[in-house]
């Protein structure tokens, strides 16, 4: 037996022994996810135990170094670990912007002290993070942001407003882009971390076309941020932000993969019905679903290739933009088809049968996929400039 086979069987038996049966049920929605943090209320004892067991082994962040709360797994081991989790249907023990977004940025740009302190908190699910990037006047043109941190010697005083801050009302800390030099557009931005309980921070939820949402507006009114809470160099926060956006784009691109079922068409047989030949009883929709399945299966292969190339350092640095573009466009198409197949049942917004309008709300929510984290049009700009190296206009 090779070392990796040995590793696989060890992981499998650990998961079988330690993952509670309730944590092997499919995730029904946001309410089943474990977000951690100071104020998080566990949905069940099983959810709590699963997080604790994983955190103790470093399995919430298997590929991070052990000294920062990870398990120090190699890329090949991480892939095996995730495959085994998927095979047993284990839920992710911890969903976290700290893991997906801030962590990778800290690993690259943080001081040793910051890594030990913040990464361990993230890995154990102790602190829940939110992201302060967009502002009312700075969406696609993010670099024009106006939230300002005035230098007061050993601290900054931050004033301004962020928007589309996911879970700002539930998060403990924020990683935030703040202008620290008004003269230099790109080099005048710093990447600051601060506690959401700091006096002067307030939040207000945003209601979307899909109903209530995790998004908030976040306001800063004379918020005091100590100088050691900066990641990377002063006025060079844009480098950190760009790096982190790459990770965010990867994360959102995963949406195109759906829930892991290999075929949308096969899932829709119940809603549409089969004709005497065993084909979906709507030839045009069948054809659209089959074309979607081709695209979705191909994108699944792309996602696997992309992850493998990333881990091996073979991926083009701008490739996450392609993944984000293709994955989000695919996910929007998926939900258009789900709505078509669902007919009038899929229009129900509040009934019990529709589980509170799950389909129409998800359908509407996916429309944001190609807007948040950089619009599809911005992704195409980046691909054309950085990968195809087409000239500037």
């Amino acid at each position: 037996m090779s070392d990796l086979d040995q590793f696989r069987s060890e992981i499998r038996s650990w998961l079988e022994e330690n993952c509670p049966p309730e944590m092997r049920e499919p995730v029904r929605g946001d309410e089943d996810m474990c977000w951690g943090g100071r104020n998080f209320e566990f949905q069940s004892e099983a959810q709590k135990v699963w997080l604790e067991r994983c955190a103790a082994k470093g399995y919430t962040v298997p590929d991070w170094p052990k000294e920062y709360g990870g398990a120090g797994m190699s890329p090949a081991e991480t892939k095996i670990f995730r495959r085994e989790m998927a095979k047993l249907g284990c839920r992710s023990p911890l969903s976290s912007f700290g893991i997906w977004m801030l962590g990778p940025a800290l690993l690259k740009f943080g001081t040793e002290e910051q890594k030990v302190h913040y990464l361990n908190q993230i890995a154990r699910g102790e602190i829940r993070w939110c992201q302060g990037y967009s502002e009312p006047g700075s969406g696609s043109d993010l670099v024009s942001l106006q939230t300002y941190g005035e230098d007061k010697g050993d601290h900054w005083i931050v004033n301004g407003q962020k928007v589309w801050t996911s879970y700002a009302d539930k998060a403990d800390w924020i990683f935030c882009l703040v202008r620290t030099d008004k003269e230099d557009k790109y080099r005048g931005i710093s990447f600051l971390l601060f506690d959401m309980e700091t006096p002067g921070v307030s939040t207000k939820p945003i209601k979307l076309i899909s109903g209530s949402s995790p998004f908030c507006e976040t306001f800063f009114d004379d918020v005091k941020v100590p100088k050691d809470q900066i990641v990377g160099e002063l006025n060079r926060g844009w480098d950190v932000a760009k790096y982190l956006l790459g990770h965010e784009r990867e994360m959102i691109s995963g949406g195109g993969l759906g829930d892991g079922s290999p075929s949308l068409g096969a899932k829709m047989t119940g809603a549409i019905g089969l004709n005497g030949l065993g084909m979906l009883d709507d030839q045009i929709l069948r054809s659209e679903l089959a074309q979607f399945d081709v695209d979705a299966l191909a994108f699944r292969a792309m996602a696997e290739k992309f992850m493998d190339e990333m881990k091996a350092g073979k991926s083009h640095p701008a490739q996450p933009n392609m993944m984000k573009y293709a994955g989000t466009e695919l996910n929007k198409q998926r939900h258009e088809l789900v709505m078509s197949a669902g007919g009038s049942d899929a229009l129900e917004w509040e009934s019990e049968a529709s589980r509170g309008g799950k389909k129409p709300r998800e359908w509407l929510r996916t429309k944001a996929n190609s807007i948040e984290g950089g619009t599809s049009e911005i992704m195409l700009n980046v691909i054309s400039k950085r990968i195809l190296e087409l000239p500037d206009g």
């Binding site: 290999p262 493998d308 392609m322 195409l380 195809l388 087409l390």
Partner: protein, 378 residues
């Protein structure tokens, strides 16, 4: 196994890239087209393919080949696609060899050495109508003496007139639509009562209509088992389909590259047209589709080489996806080239023609998309 080429496969890619660029570039294709070559490819280049070891990629080591897989065959085919290199590689060394690997020692000994040395060319006589419908094969092979008598007709037999042997799919029992009852035959070019009528195609390849008017062949010419040809045919079709998908990834990728270069060169309104966002976004979308198609094809090849259960699904998916993406590449290519894209002088139109023929080869995007639905049970 990570989903990218390993070191050996990357080395093969480097040598195939250099070889095709030096020996089989688009100018080579033009040369053979312009002299109206009856074969549509160079026998000298086919010998060179053999010297490079390419023709033995799918031949087992036991039979003197390299014993490699579909990933390696695909690596060579992608470079063929990028350069529009005319050769019998796909029909002979990929699809043909995949069938011959199921044959007995006698047939293998008769044909594999010639393929390994670059002397032998095979033709695939599968299709009977203008659309690929292998489950509707009706051509009859009746028992006759010590062998069989073939009656019927085939079309779209690429290199049919230059081939030393045709692999012919025919019915030895049952009727069109039955799963059992198919048999594959190795029919030598000089068989009596066989009428081969070559026609030039849009991509300048030469394909034949072949009429079988009671062609007598002996029982030794059966590839695999009588009535059990479905499996051999399946191996042939699978290899040919995924191989043509790789070639289309090359055709689409080549078309995209020359188009992106053109966007950087061509100036209008005082600027390179590639600085206009309307074209940038379309080029970026195309890049995305070509990347995904490449990943889909490689995934299918890895699954095939590993003998995975879901390989068949992935092969149908990959052929459908590669067709769609390459088709987008050549259409966008011609449009973004503008007027010169319509001229014979520029290469982009040649890519469009090649893509059209490859897309139709062994099932178009609709055929394979439908198979994906069927395999998913809807």
């Amino acid at each position: 196994m990570p989903l990218f080429l390993d070191d050996d496969q990357s080395m093969l890619q480097d040598s195939a890239r250099e070889f095709m660029k030096a020996e089989g570039p688009v100018s080579h294709f033009r040369e053979f087209r312009d002299k109206n070559c009856k074969d549509g490819f160079s026998h000298g280049l086919w010998k060179q393919f053999a010297e490079m070891g390419f023709t033995g990629i799918l031949v087992s080591e036991e039979d003197g080949g390299l014993g490699l897989g579909h990933v390696e065959a695909g690596v060579v085919l992608e470079q063929i696609g990028r350069n529009l290199t005319p050769s019998p590689f796909l029909t002979t060394a990929v699809a043909g060899v995949a069938a011959l690997n199921h044959a007995g020692a006698k047939l293998r000994g008769e044909y594999l050495p010639g393929i390994l040395s670059g002397d032998t060319v095979l033709g695939l006589a599968i299709d009977e109508k203008s659309k690929h419908r292998p489950d509707q094969i009706a051509m009859a092979a009746e028992r006759s003496g010590n062998g069989f008598k073939l009656t019927g007709q085939k079309q779209f037999v690429i290199h049919g007139a230059s081939a030393d042997m045709l692999i012919v799919a025919a019915r030895t029992s049952g009727s069109a639509g039955d799963a059992d009852g198919l048999t594959l035959f190795a029919v030598p070019k000089d068989a009596a009562n066989m009428d081969v009528n070559p026609v030039r195609l849009v991509d300048s390849a030469v394909a034949a209509h072949v009429k079988f008017d009671g062609v007598e062949i002996n029982a030794d010419s059966v590839i695999g088992e009588v009535d059990q040809g479905g499996e051999v045919l399946g191996a042939l079709l699978t290899a040919g389909r995924i191989g043509s998908a790789s070639e289309m990834v090359g055709v689409g990728g080549g078309a995209m590259d020359i188009t992106v270069d053109y966007l950087k060169e061509r100036k209008q309104f005082g600027s390179p047209i590639g600085s206009f966002q309307a074209l940038q976004h379309r080029a970026a979308h195309l890049y995305s589709e070509m990347e995904i198609a490449g990943a889909a094809v490689l995934k299918a090849q890895q699954l095939l080489d590993a003998g995975a259960d879901n390989a068949a699904l992935y092969v149908h998916m990959a052929k459908a996806k590669a067709s769609k993406a390459a088709n987008l590449a050549v259409r966008e290519g011609v449009q973004m080239h503008g007027g010169v894209g319509m001229t014979d002088e520029y290469d982009i139109g040649l890519y469009m023609k090649r893509d059209r023929a490859l897309s139709e080869f062994l099932g178009d995007t609709n055929y394979h998309t439908n198979k994906v639905a069927e395999l998913h049970g809807y």
